[in-house]
Amino acid sequence: MKKIEVLGSGCNNCIRLEKNAREAVAAAGIEAEITKVTDYAEIMSYGIMSTPGLVIDGKVVSYGRVPSADDIKVWLGE
């Protein structure tokens, strides 16, 4: 069970990132829990300033851009 967190205050980019993450999970056929982190203090605790950020199992894999579902699928496989 993978734990995916989408970091961002809820702007368009964050919504797109969450959508891509869901697609990636579906494509990879794995089980994952996707949560949105909107609290600034918590976002900052990952050391990033440019949202949206993507965290898989506690590790920041991307920030400041919206990776495609294909990219995320690769990271999920790692």
């Binding site: 205050s9 900052m44 990952y46 990033i48 300033m49 949202t51 400041g64």
Partner: protein, 345 residues
């Protein structure tokens, strides 16, 4: 979906970029002959008539501006992927106040910034020891001197005004940063900001060239999709002003004989936030009708720099007093620029 992705991956990156560039150039050089042909041959309008002029103007300006936006925004988004706010922050932390403020205003031009990332940026800067004044210089310059505003000004109004706008924007940002830095307002930052402990910097990612190009293109599509209705509407209104609004009216209301024109335009600019795309064509038409340059610049700067949604977001990290000071200083700076340019031109 999978087949499409697989096929796309087979086309080399340079070929995609080259094909895109050629398409763009063809469209660029076809826009003028095509627009005159449609206006005068297909629609049969008289080139000498006011209506014919307005329609030709509209048909040429819309594709011209959209093409310029597509090209420049893609290029800027691509270049921008090399400069992250994380890197700007480490360049700014621990600098001398004056040099830092000037540098921050300069960085504001090249770094991405939408109002939704204002808060993480603010916290991140302050927390890393970037002085408050330097942070504010960045917060002011970043939205004001942005590529969409620059492209529209350059393409519709001309290079002189564009350069004046960029320099004036930098001046306001530097001045606001220096004044706020001098006022020692650290205690008016919301207390929780100081207690946030940012994690150590995330790994510095190196996206591949393909990622950068694809991201840039996606960002461009996003922006164009958002602004095109405003561009079309703005150019239509501009064409209308161009043809039908009397010059005397514009000069009387917005001219230098009306001392309230500059503050009124600044106030009008606040709710128009994010609509630079729609207002530049209107500003262009108004300048053509005698609106003084200073008034036009002040209007444009108020639209990009002062926005109600951004104030609401920034309120989360600033106590009311700091937020009010920030807005007052920026508004005052914009008005000074307005009066100054009106006086010398």
């Amino acid at each position: 979906m999978t087949t499409l992705a697989a096929r796309r991956a087979e086309i080399p990156l340079w070929l995609t970029v080259l094909a895109g560039t050629i398409l763009w150039l063809v469209a660029w050089f076809l826009a003028l002959p095509l627009s005159t042909w449609i206006a005068f041959d297909v629609l049969g309008l008289d080139p000498a008539s006011q209506l014919g002029q307005a329609v030709a103007f509209f048909l040429f300006d819309v594709p011209k501006v959209l093409l310029l936006l597509t090209g420049i925004v893609t290029l800027v988004s691509f270049l921008r992927s090399f400069v992250s706010p994380e890197r700007v922050r480490s360049a700014l932390a621990g600098r001398n106040a004056v040099i830092g403020t000037v540098a921050a205003a300069g960085f504001g031009i090249i770094t991405p910034f939408c109002s939704c990332s204002a808060v993480p940026l603010f916290i991140g800067f302050v927390e890393a020891g970037v002085p408050l004044g330097v942070t504010f210089a960045f917060l002011v310059a970043s939205p004001m001197v942005n590529e969409v505003a620059i492209v529209l000004l350059w393409g519709l109004v001309g290079p002189t005004i564009t350069i004046a706008y960029v320099l004036a924007g930098l001046a306001v940002a530097i001045m606001a940063g220096l004044i706020i830095g001098r006022m020692r307002m650290e205690r008016y930052v919301e207390d929780y900001v100081w207690t946030i402990r940012a994690g150590s910097a995330a790994i510095d990612f190196r996206p591949t060239m393909g990622d950068r190009v694809r991201d840039a293109w996606r960002a461009t599509i996003e922006i164009i999709r958002r602004v095109w209705p405003y561009v079309v509407a703005g150019i239509a209104i501009g064409a209308f002003i161009h043809g039908f609004v009397p010059t005397e009216l514009v000069v009387k209301i917005g001219g230098e004989d009306n001392p309230l024109a500059v503050p009124a335009l600044v106030a009008l600019g606040v709710p128009l936030y994010g609509n630079a795309a729609g207002t530049v064509p209107i500003i262009d038409a108004l300048i053509g009708k005698g609106l003084p340059i200073g008034s036009a610049l002040a209007f444009m700067m108020a639209i990009t720099a002062l926005s109600f949604p951004e104030m609401v977001i920034l309120r989360r990290v600033m106590k009311p007093r700091l937020l009010a000071t920030f807005v007052a200083i920026v508004a005052a700076g914009i008005m000074v620029i307005g009066y100054l340019f009106n006086a010398v031109t």
